[in-house]
Amino acid sequence: MIKYILAVLFFAALVLIYIGLYLMNKKTPLPEGCENLKADCEGCHDYACLHNPAHKEKEGN
């Protein structure tokens, strides 16, 4: 029984760490001169990637 409680706690801890880091990373400002960096890619439709055009559309609206 303790094992499953541990599993849930461990899972919750991981999720919290991830979301925390994600937010912290988003808030960290870009270094100077890097505001307009662009990857030369349009071949994949990976939506987890922040360069995916879908993200910019949403933020622009």
Binding site: V15, I19, Y22, L23, K26, G43, H45, D46, Y47, A54
Partner: protein
Amino acid sequence: MNRIQNFKNGLIKDNPVFSLFLGICSTLAITTSINNAIGMGVSVIIVLTMSNVIISMIRKITPDEIRIPVYIVIIATLVTIIQMLIQAFAPALNESLGVFIPLIVVNCIILGRAESFASKNGVFDSALDGIGMGCGYTLAVLAMSVIREVLSTGGILITNPFNTAQVILDLTLFPEDFTISLFGSPVGAFITFACLAAAVGAYKTHLDSKEKAKEK
């Protein structure tokens, strides 16, 4: 009507694999046999439909800032469940698909549909979209695996995934002397995929030109 049209588009015109180039990794790797293709296709349909439904249900309470991490957590949990079910009930399938079952987590189709469809549409539409896109993926892996299996082994062999001793279909189309073993290897996967993708692309341009002619 519109819904049926959406569903149909997912199968061929907007096929996730050949037209949108999503989830290519697993498509190339597991299409050596039809058995694998069916197993993978069904797993993807289940994960995709469930993730679409769950994400659509929570779309209003998910903070926009952290939606990507939330989606990844949901998908990873679903895939863990599916992996455990396959390990328990179809160990042979687990053996032959290997690392590609856990890799469904990073399959671009699932996150792609979550972000571009399920996060904006209702539960029913999202479920339908999941099934449609999942079927499109299954159709693609099936087409690839039929071509590769027939050319590399000269026949078709389908077994029951829950009991490998039970053969459902065993068909020999031409003798072994005439098989092309190249199609069982990675090279064959790339060539088959390129040709099928080109065929779908050509069909798409054909449809577009037809539409334009109609408008005129």
